[in-house]
């Protein structure tokens, strides 16, 4: 070490002394100016300059900061001193200036003059691009790495600046220091720092981007991907387009990200990248080199989350497809995706959105894979697909079934392009359309946004064109003709009565109807009888009661021997009419048949539907007076068009839910607002005396499997419907005396089945619980069912938190709310 103090040290010591003691503005000014020459390029020796920067700069800055006060700055007029003071921070070594500034800001207690001055200075510092200088220096210091502690401090100060500043400044915070302002700026600065690195590399100087990678990682870990990468990714995408050097810089940047931040960075990049090409340029073959990356990209994003939107999936899988080294990963991913898709356990225990996510990923994979690759793994894919389709079609949730159909169609079309196409019947909705759109392979060079833009305006235009093409020609000749036609006297008569001819052989007596349905080989008569039956039954209840069970039997076994539009609805409406007319006997018959052998699932579900609709009709207040002018029961009517599409049970499922939901909703409203509805028609609930016939036989035998019918086994769908039916009957039995034993039985039933694996069954159980709460009088509920209720509450809370099915969770929350309300009503003031 040099024993004699150098000239620099002496000068600095003098200056600090002057600064701390002098009150003379001129003197201070001249001292500072003399020191400032150590910062300049020309006026000092390089050795002196370096010594100053390394050893004396920080103490000097700390001294300067400590002098900061209004009086001190006004020692010289016109802000000369302030300008000079600031120039030390803005021109000296950036890292030290930044650290001292941050330190000073953190050391200041609360908003004050001093703090504001420092904040303004920091703002200037940021605007002047000094952070880029700072990061550039850190990157160039590869040869002589600064102390790790210093780098760590720098890193955390740079990334956490908004937090520190908002802590200090509180309400006085400047816009630049908010995350929305700061991180985009930081992104720009990082690009500038990388420019420095790239220039240095071009100049043959060795550099490391480790510090930049750390910044990137830390920002992403802090969850600021959107602001930061929103600026960074487009810049880098543009820079890497034709420049190999920049691509290597980017690869290194991504490679050096610490492992613990890798996931956040990748997530952000996949989200921000406009397409697989960009992602590929930014990441290179990182997925092969880095284990963590491989895990995140091929497992976590695909299987463990469903955050990825469709464009993200396309970017991600497109990235895997873009390079021959990465393609095996894509093939592997497809295999695993398909395995997950087809696994029955995954279907039961993952939420529907996750399953949709997997389905979408499969189709995107398919779009990226070529014929040859598919042929190699065809056998494996086929095996998974077969099992998967089976499992999906078994599901009782229509969205899951539909997903199975769509994916299987697309898959088989790719696996057997030459064979006859697999085709399912399903109703298209938004989701299936979105999924189907993925099947078509995308043009190679257009990003998804590009594609979207192109597709959007074209659609409506062509449709409009079509409309014109189709709409105009038939009109034109006719219009022209009638203009030429002077025969104005030929005004057409009303021809609305011109309908398909119906046979006029409709029977007029119920017995005739029954006979026609049973024996007639004259199909016109048979159809006419079917159409006339409902009205006849309502018109002649006495005659119906004589033959009710026979009629129900015939209707239940009726087959659609000839094609009759709306056959299912007609049959169901007639059955409902018969049940309503003679509830006790027909309900008894139907409920026994429900558990009899040799019925199809369709018939069993029909029985359930009919029982519900009949109960609904019977419980309708004021039914007797308006029985003849009533409109057909709404669920049948709604079901009609959809039934024509022959989608087994999907519709009725929706009906069910709608019915139960609306009821719960209407009921809840009544609790909160009081009876504000217009006077409902009054009258005794006609269901009261017969609901037992509907309910108890149904609930009694569910656990006794038959040869062809096993409710607790494969016939989950029927079990789901049964639970919904029981819930609906419970709800309809409101205000009846039998409601309490019914509620008790139903809660026991729910308790037995509460851990059923099928989401549809659980939904039914939840709505049944809600029905019990709504129908059983609150006092009786607390008095006689309190234990069951307590157990049910624990279960509900469990479901509300942990059930994989979203609808189940929502329903459970709703039922819980209902119990809360009940309790509040019963115990308005907890005893003091």
């Amino acid at each position: 070490m040099d024993p004699a103090p150098s000239s620099v040290r002496l000068a600095v010591r003098d200056a600090i002394h002057t600064l701390s003691s002098s009150e003379d503005g001129g003197c201070i000014f001249s001292t500072l100016v003399s020191l400032k020459r150590y910062l300049g390029e020309a006026e000092a020796l390089p050795g002196e300059r370096e010594e100053f920067a390394r050893l004396h700069f920080s103490p000097l800055l700390r001294c300067l900061v400590s002098k900061l006060s209004p009086d001190w700055l006004q020692l010289l007029p016109a802000g000369q001193l302030e300008e000079l003071w600031a120039s030390f921070f803005l021109q000296g070594p950036a890292d030290q200036a930044f650290l001292v500034l941050m330190e000073a800001i953190e050391g200041t207690a609360g908003p004050s003059y001093r703090l504001m001055k420092l904040a303004r200075l920091l703002e200037q510092f940021l605007h002047a691009g000094r952070v880029a200088v700072l990061m550039g220096e850190q990157c160039r210091q590869r040869a002589q790495p600064g102390s790790p502690l210093l780098r760590e401090t720098l890193l955390s100060k740079v990334v956490c600046l908004p937090d520190h500043l908002s802590n200090r400044l509180q309400r006085e915070n400047l816009a630049l220091f908010l995350p929305q302002g700061y991180f985009p700026l930081l992104g720009e600065e990082l690009v500038r720092a990388l420019h420095v690195v790239a220039d240095a590399l071009r100049g043959g100087v060795d550099c490391s981007v480790a510090f930049a990678s750390q910044v990137l990682g830390k920002v992403c870990v802090h969850g600021r991907q959107k602001e930061f990468l929103g600026v960074l990714v487009p810049r880098l995408a543009a820079l890497t387009r034709d420049d190999a050097l920049w691509q290597r810089v980017c690869w290194h940047l991504a490679e050096r990200v610490p492992d613990r931040a890798m996931e956040a960075v990748l997530m952000g990049l996949v989200e921000a990248a406009p397409g697989p090409e960009v992602l590929s340029r930014l990441l290179g073959n990182l997925v092969i080199k880095n284990k963590k990356t491989r895990f995140v990209m091929t497992r976590k994003l695909l299987f463990l989350q469903h955050r990825c939107t469709t464009p993200m999936l396309q970017s991600l899988l497109g990235y895997l497809a873009a390079d021959s080294q990465r393609r095996p990963l894509l093939v592997q991913a497809l295999k695993e995706l398909l395995e997950t898709w087809g696994s029955s356990s995954a279907m039961k225990h993952t939420p529907v959105p996750q399953q949709h996510h997997v389905g979408k990923a499969i189709l995107v994979c398919l779009a990226y894979l070529g014929e040859a690759e598919l042929q190699d793994i065809r056998e494996e894919l086929l095996a998974s697909m077969m099992a998967g389709v089976q499992n999906h079609l078994d599901s009782s949730l229509p969205p899951v079934r539909r997903l199975g159909m769509v994916v299987a169609e697309a898959l088989s079309a790719r696996l057997h392009p030459e064979g006859p196409p697999l085709k399912f019947q399903y109703e298209e909705d938004e989701l299936t359309r979105e999924i189907l759109a993925l099947v078509a392979p995308r043009p190679a060079d257009s990003g998804p946004s590009n594609l979207g833009l192109r597709a959007a305006p074209v659609g409506p235009e062509t449709r409009a064109d079509d409309g014109r093409d189709v709409g105009m020609p038939p009109v034109q000749p006719e219009g022209a003709d009638s203009e030429r036609d002077s025969d104005d006297e030929f005004v057409p008569y009303d021809m609305s009565g011109d309908r398909e001819l119906r046979s006029s052989k409709a029977p007029v007596y119920v017995r005739d109807c029954l006979e026609a349905l049973m024996t007639s080989e004259d199909w016109e008569r048979w159809e006419a009888a079917l159409r006339a039956l409902e009205d006849l039954v309502y018109r002649s209840p006495a005659a119906t009661r004589e033959v009710s069970v026979g009629l129900a039997q015939v209707l239940l076994h009726l087959e659609e021997k000839i094609c009759v539009a709306g056959f299912e609805a007609l049959r169901r409406r007639s059955l409902v009419a018969v049940t309503v007319t003679d509830p006790a006997r027909v309900a008894e018959y139907l409920t026994t048949q429900f558990y009899a052998v040799n019925y199809s699932l369709r018939q069993r579900m029909d029985i359930l539907d009919v029982l519900t609709l009949a109960a609904q009709e019977l419980s309708r207040p004021g039914r007797g007076s308006t029985a003849l002018q009533r409109s057909p029961p709404s669920p049948g009517g709604q079901g009609e068009p959809a039934l024509a599409a022959s989608q087994l049970s999907g519709v009725v499922h929706a009906d069910w839910r709608a019915v139960v939901e609306t009821r719960i909703r209407s009921k809840t409203r009544r609790f909160s607002k009081g009876p504000s509805r217009p006077d409902p028609a009054c009258g005794p609930n006609e269901l009261s005396s017969v609901v037992g016939w509907f309910f108890f036989p149904l609930i009694r035998h569910f656990d006794r499997p038959l040869v062809t019918f096993d409710l607790l086994g494969d016939d989950r769908l029927v079990l789901g419907r049964l639970t919904h039916t029981l819930g609906a009957l419970m709800y309809l039995a409101v205000n009846t005396t039998v409601a309490v034993p019914m509620g008790k039985a139903l809660l026991e039933f729910v308790w037995v089945l509460r851990f059923h694996t099928d989401a549809y069954v659980r939904q039914g159980l939840l709505s049944a619980t809600a029905a019990v709460l709504l129908s059983v009088p609150a006092e009786r509920l607390m008095g006689e069912l309190s234990e069951e209720l307590l157990e049910a509450r624990a279960w509900l809370a469990d479901v509300a938190e942990e059930d994989p099915d979203g609808d189940c969770r929502a329903l459970a929350v709703r039922v819980l709310l209902l119990t809360e309300k009940l309790r509040d009503r019963l115990l308005p003031h907890p005893s003091p």
Binding site: E478, D481, S482, D485, E489, V491, Y493, M495, L501
Partner: protein, 329 residues
């Protein structure tokens, strides 16, 4: 275009003739003898009777019984001499003399075919006329010169054509200087053929239906005709200068089955008799549907127009409905 106003409600029949006691299968308007003044309507029924109705009193004036209780399928009066031709399922074509209140069969021709094909008549210079009727062979049409009953020719399709039985016939001749009788025949296979009677050959054939042609009518001025069949479609075809038939448009109906078609003598309207119990009225030139007359409760077998535009429809429900639609006032 003007805002569409509510179409007028369906008209009712002007009156209904009851009393045939059985289904009405043939209708024909007849100007009547000089003394009677008002037009008459002739109807042929399933029970073999021909009723002569006065449209003035709306009562049956006379009943002609000449077909031995077999269905009367066709009625036609000759333009001169007050003679009536009736065809029955007893395989006889009877010629009645109706002049001065007489009602006797003056002549009859034996039919060789048991089919449902109605005959057709072309009047030449009095007293000669020509009748076309289904012939001995199942696909033949026979032309007779009347009243001498000499066979002019037998029109037999070429061996490879196989059109099936003739189902309806229409004799006409071109109005130009050299009148040559032509025959339009609708066949069982749904085709319509134009025969040149004097050369005994088919000028043109067009397949316009997939089911047997049940009725056709031809407008010789516009050279356009229409045919109805057992299917749901009405076909309108035209005849060009080269004597070739061409389908120019088809019209979809609500219900299948057309038993008879008839163009009004002023060529403005077309009426069809439907198996769906309805009579449909079209504007003949544009084929615009004008009315659907839903009055009968059984198949409508026949429609007929009077010279003054009155429309009659006879149906299986034993009623004859008379309609007055779009009359020139």
């Amino acid at each position: 275009m003007a805002a569409p106003t509510r179409p007028p409600p369906l008209p009712d029949p002007q009156f209904v003739l009851r009393g045939t006691q059985s289904a009405v299968h043939a209708l024909h308007f007849y100007r009547g003898t000089q003394g009677q003044g008002c037009p008459l309507l002739l109807s042929g029924s399933l029970s073999g009777l021909v009723h002569i109705w006065s449209l003035h009193t709306r009562r049956a004036l006379t009943t002609l019984d000449g077909h031995g209780s077999q269905c009367v399928t066709w009625l036609q009066t000759l333009p001169h001499g007050h003679q009536l031709l009736s065809q029955g399922r007893d395989l006889r074509l009877c010629l009645w003399d109706l002049a001065e209140g007489r009602n006797a069969v003056v002549d009859s021709v034996r039919l060789e075919s048991v089919g449902f094909c109605r005959s057709t008549v072309l009047a030449g210079a009095p007293p000669r006329w020509m009748v076309a009727m289904p012939g001995r062979g199942s696909d033949e049409v026979e032309i007779l010169e009347m009243p001498s009953k000499t066979s002019v020719c037998t029109l037999k399709p070429e061996a490879d054509a196989k059109p099936g039985m003739p189902m309806c016939l229409e004799l006409w001749q071109q109005a130009d200087s050299s009148p040559r009788p032509r025959l339009l025949a609708g066949y069982e296979d749904g085709s319509v053929a134009l025969w040149d009677v004097s050369e005994r050959k088919v000028c043109s054939r067009v397949t316009c239906h997939t089911e047997p042609v049940m009725g056709l009518d031809f407008d010789s001025q516009k050279a356009r005709g229409v045919s109805g069949s057992a299917e749901k479609v009405l076909a309108v075809w035209s005849l060009d200068e080269q004597q070739s038939l061409k389908v120019c448009r088809t019209h979809e109906l609500t219900n299948p089955g057309i038993a008879d078609v008839m163009i009004r003598p002023d060529r403005k309207l077309l009426a069809t008799a439907g198996w769906d119990h309805r009579v449909r009225i079209f504007h003949w030139r544009t084929m615009k549907p004008l009315a659907v007359l839903d009055f009968h409760t059984a198949t409508v077998h026949c429609v007929a127009f009077a010279d003054d535009g009155l429309l009659a429809a006879g149906s299986g429900d034993r009623r004859i409905s008379i309609w007055s639609l779009y009359q020139r006032t």
